[in-house]
């Protein structure tokens, strides 16, 4: 009976919790954040730490518009329908000022469309899809992260310089992998018209048959491989491919391959010599990054991942927008976001009025080994603004606001 009573008490507490309207605190500004924390945990745990640190810093410095800020975070379960419901809850019940976050492309696009419908500012943090600012772009949506197109474009100079003729391609079979592949083919062909794409493998996300895929690529006898695999797929591909000699005498380019989230699990098997985009946190000594890294390591006793950068910078973008707008009015916030420029650990970023894409850059380099761990070597920073197509092309893709 005791347990039954306890059960009842617990249930009633839950019921109460779900129906109680949260008291609107007057002294804080709430920002709504949603993400697929459980589905993409490896990236999003550091991401959450990033924005938590940002909130602490901002509040320690006195907050914004005379108020403290609070990020109200929700799990969207990696599902666009859940994300739209959660967004609705954040807006109508938590009365958040606007929305930030999301990870996978489909969730990002669904929330962007919702933001347009609700005429509410939405700053997408992580979604890489080009469509969110171009084909499906809208007046209320902005995106921080260096997009698929931009990161691919950053690898093109090296790819073209090698003058390899036969290319094989492998990518996870969904939006990100597809657009990376399309962008790569288009951009490389422009630079090097005689290029040949000799094999294409599109394994399902998270379910690559790495041995068979590596073998099939090797059978095509490519001079170089372009891959956009990440996570467990990448780890499996690297191991199977190197055991089978599929990378011998072949140059490999791997989008995102240098991000600590995906490089570190490989440990001493990190594929030396691969060209990647990523985040060499150990080597960036710009003052803004040093400050960020020291604070992060002091707070969490762990080194930052790329997710930490995105989470931290995203919160900072939100704060900068409010500061510039001087109000929480949606139209004023959107106007402020357009052309907004602020500092991040990766240097200054600007949200382009043209397409609402930020100019956040990325690091390009090659994988090396140090003390049994993969690192990026010979890396350089590429500013995002240098990796974007011409304004003309962007206008063609983006619908009029």
């Amino acid at each position: 009976m005791l347990t039954r009573n306890r059960l009842l008490a617990g249930v009633s507490a839950l019921v109460a919790a779900s129906f109680a309207l949260p008291a609107a605190a007057q002294d804080t500004i709430k920002i709504g954040e949603m993400n697929s924390y459980k589905v993409f945990a490896a990236f999003l745990e550091p991401y959450k730490k990033g924005w938590e640190m940002a909130v602490e810093e901002v509040n320690a410095a006195g907050g914004v518009l005379g108020k403290k800020i609070e990020i109200v975070s929700r799990d969207d379960n990696g599902n666009p329908a859940d994300a739209v419901r959660v967004a609705e809850e954040l807006l109508s019940r938590e009365k958040v000022a606007f929305l930030i976050g999301t990870f996978p492309s489909n969730v990002g696009l669904a929330v962007a469309d919702f933001a347009k419908q609700r005429k509410t500012l939405f700053i997408a943090g992580e979604p890489l899809t080009d469509k969110i600012v171009w084909d499906n772009g809208n007046a209320y949506t902005f995106r921080l992260r260096t997009s698929t197109y931009m990161q691919t474009a950053m690898l093109i100079p090296d790819a073209a310089r090698l003058k390899k003729k036969r290319w094989a391609i492998v990518y996870p079979n969904y939006e990100y992998g597809q657009s990376a592949t399309a962008a790569f083919k288009k951009l490389l062909k422009e630079k090097q018209p005689d290029v040949e794409f000799v094999a294409e493998q599109a394994p399902p996300l998270g379910k690559i048959d790495a041995g068979a895929v590596a073998q099939a690529l090797a059978d095509a006898k490519p001079d170089a491989i372009f891959s956009s695999l990440f996570g467990p797929d990448l780890a499996k591909f690297v191991r199977e491919g190197s055991q089978r000699g599929a990378f011998k005498g072949v140059e490999v380019f791997n989008l995102l391959g240098g991000e600590p989230e995906y490089l570190d699990p490989l440990k001493d098997e990190a594929p030396v010599g691969w060209y990647v985009t990523g985040y060499p946190w150990y080597g960036i000594d710009s003052p803004e990054h040093k400050k960020f890294r020291d604070a992060y390591q002091a707070k969490y006793k762990d080194y930052p991942r790329l997710g930490s950068i995105v989470g931290y910078s995203l919160a900072m973008s939100a704060v900068a927008a409010m500061k510039k707008a001087g109000s929480l009015d949606q139209e004023k916030l959107v106007a402020a976001m357009s052309g907004l420029s602020h500092s991040t650990p990766f240097g200054n970023v600007t949200y382009r009025p043209l397409d609402h894409q930020s100019t956040m850059g990325a690091y390009v380099g090659r994988i090396g080994l140090k003390d049994g761990k993969g690192i990026m070597t010979d890396w350089r920073f590429v500013d995002g603004k240098d990796a974007l197509p011409s304004d003309e092309e962007v206008r063609k893709m983006r619908p009029a606001n």
């Binding site: 609705e88 489909n106 962007a112 969904y174 599109a202 041995g211 099939a216 055991q243 699990p265």
Partner: protein, 612 residues
């Protein structure tokens, strides 16, 4: 593809088949004896990988350390299986068919969050097998020595299992129970101990399958669900309860995937196993080596179905109708979701409860209805209202085709064929970029102006879903519905009094599919977007969970289940970080306290407490 690559891809396929076989063999064994569809089997596999990783780190990266770790991890997973059986499943063997599936679903949620808490979110790449970390050259191509070992391990385990089953008393009992569960009870065997031991062996096989993958696959949190679908497919293609069949099916599927990749059709790997399953089931209704089950239905016969009493329904409708007046916009949004899911669950219950045809792929109709609505609106340019009205019929058309094949099977085979069709639909939706926008899904699917307010849309949802539910309930008490119930109780008798049962079941399939399509279309316009996840296994599973949670043998159960599940998930996800584990624990509590589902349990309580 040259001869050499052909051979190598064949070997690749065989290596991949090995672990798949181990997992499936365990699943098949457990199902054969206990009739439990163990949804948590993939989680046991995942624990095998994580366990092996940690044990290798502890015991050292030496051949001895590696192989002790693999075996210890498998045994440890076996113990987890024992705990699951003793603590949870043993309490609910007498519950209605498939109810145990709900419990194992909850266990999946709990294990996932426990693994996250223990091992963290980062993928854990284990070492290569010490002593076997070299490639072997075959026909001028290199293949890892470990893969060749895996190719041998599969048949060795098959032989060992065969000996165990053929030569020991335990094996004889397992075989007897697989053929006829009642008989084992009659033989005076301690059923509880037999079941526990079967769970142990099944879990060890899953754990071993996982642990052996450590040199090939990083331990990560997505393994459970990605493996369980494959394992179900292999088990069913091989024939439930047949180890040889499972082996054959694992090889067939492993090799087919490798050849898809080898021949340059890598996009097909998304769906090839489901295509194979569909073809096999259409041609061999009990799998490659399976036999028709002795009895189609297990456990107690279904109790009579009571029509809903009028006043509680009216009271509920009034309660639903005043929701938007509460002034909390979000409750209206949540209730819109609940109404859509309620119709979805009721339509699933219509075929799986009274008609006795369990569907593991009901999301096909929900999702296709949603996509039909979105496409008619966006691509065909129809007015939103017309798109919404036509969409269910598109879903119904698919049900006409899929249902024609499905009603020719029964039991788990039928359920798995529905899953095959759902997955084939999903993969088409997921990859047909020009039409469905692929993985991104369609956006901008918003209702017309007069429905754009949340209360307006909610009232429309309430009206449409309410009418849909009323129609299904009404049909259940019509001669048509009685035929379905009669056909579930005794197909033999139905046929003997001149009833063409299949035709009725087919019609039921189409009706349920159409109304699931309505639920999906209403849902799509309430969200403004639609993505392939609405056609996914997860969506189908949600439907099953709602029906079982509320109680499959009651009429209102699915509605209550839909409401409770949606509300719980929403609330728990907000209140706790480990919301999946919390949701799992709550479902387990409900399962143990109310083995007939919530509504069934409450009715029983009411009947007991009511003054006589």
């Amino acid at each position: 593809m040259s001869y050499a690559s052909f051979v190598i891809q064949l070997l690749n396929g065989l290596a991949a088949a090995s672990s798949l076989f181990l997992v499936s063999a365990g699943l098949s064994l457990i199902f054969g004896v206990t009739r439990i569809v163990n949804f948590a089997h993939g989680s046991l596999y995942m624990l095998g990988l994580y366990g092996a990783y940690s044990l290798i780190e502890a015991l050292g990266r030496t051949p001895l350390g590696f192989w002790s770790a693999v075996i210890l991890a498998a045994l440890a997973v076996g113990l987890v299986g024992v705990v699951i059986e003793v603590v949870v499943l043993r309490r609910i063997y007498r519950a209605p068919e498939l109810f145990q599936l709900l419990a194992t679903f909850a266990i999946v949620l709990v294990i996932k969050d426990v693994a996250l808490a223990v091992w963290g979110s980062e993928d854990l790449v284990g070492p290569r097998a010490p002593g076997l970390a070299f490639p072997v050259e075959i026909l001028g191509r290199r293949i890892p020595a470990y893969d060749l070992l895996l190719i041998v391990i599969g048949p060795v385990v098959l032989a060992a299992m065969w000996l165990l089953l053929a030569r020991t008393r335990w094996g004889a009992l397992v075989r007897a129970a697989t053929q006829d569960r009642e008989m084992v009870g009659a033989l005076g065997v301690d059923q509880a101990r037999l079941f526990t031991s079967v769970f142990f062996v099944g879990a060890v096989l899953a754990g071993l399958g996982g642990a052996l993958q450590i040199p090939r696959e990083p331990a990560n949190l997505d393994l459970d669900l990605s493996v369980i679908a494959d394992a179900f497919v292999v088990t069913v293609v091989g024939g439930l309860g047949s180890l040889g069949g499972a082996f054959l099916a694992a090889v067939l599927i492993g090799v087919a995937k490798a050849f898809c990749i080898g021949f340059g059709f890598s996009k097909l790997t998304l769906v090839v196993e489901f295509v194979i399953m569909g073809l096999v089931l259409v041609m061999r209704p009990y799998g490659l080596l399976g036999k028709p089950p002795a009895t189609a239905r297990f456990g107690e016969p279904a109790p009579p179905l009571q029509p809903p009493r009028r006043w509680p329904v009216v009271a509920w409708l009034v309660a639903f109708a005043v929701v938007p007046l509460l002034g909390d916009r979000y409750i209206t949004v949540l209730m819109t979701d609940i109404a859509c899911f309620a119709l979805f669950a009721v339509s699933l219950h219509f075929i799986m409860g009274p008609a006795g045809m369990v569907s593991f792929g009901h999301a096909a109709y929900f999702g296709l209805g949603a996509y039909a609505g979105a496409l008619l609106f966006k691509k065909a340019g129809l007015p939103m209202e017309l798109a919404l009205v036509l969409a269910p019929f598109v879903a119904g058309l698919f049900a006409v085709v899929y249902g024609w094949f499905c009603v020719r099977l029964s039991g788990v085979y039928l359920a798995m064929l529905t899953l095959a069709f759902a997955q084939i639909s999903w993969s088409v939706v997921f990859q047909w970029d020009e039409l469905t926008a692929g993985s991104n899904g369609l956006v901008g699917v918003w209702p017309s102006m007069w429905l754009s307010g949340k209360p307006a849309y909610y009232y429309m949802t309430l009206a449409l879903c309410g009418l849909g539910i009323a129609l299904l309930w009404r049909a259940l008490f019509s001669p048509f519905g009685y035929v379905l119930r009669a056909g579930r109780d005794s197909p033999l008798r139905a046929e003997a009094i001149g009833i063409d049962l299949r035709a009725f079941q087919w019609a039921a399939f189409v009706l349920a599919g159409t109304l699931a399509g309505l639920a999906g279309a209403v849902f799509a316009f309430s969200k403004g977007s639609i993505s392939p996840s609405s056609v996914s296994i997860a969506q189908s599973t949600d439907g099953l969970v709602m029906v079982l949670l509320g109680g499959v043998e009651t009429l209102t159960g699915p509605v209550v289940g839909a409401a409770i599940f949606t509300w719980l998930r929403d609330t728990l996800a907000r209140e706790t970080e480990f919301w999946r584990a919390a949701l799992g624990v709550v479902i387990l509590l409900i399962v143990i306290v109310f083995p007939q589902g919530l509504v069934g349990g409450l009715k029983a309580l009411y009947a007991r407490w009511r003054p006589a």
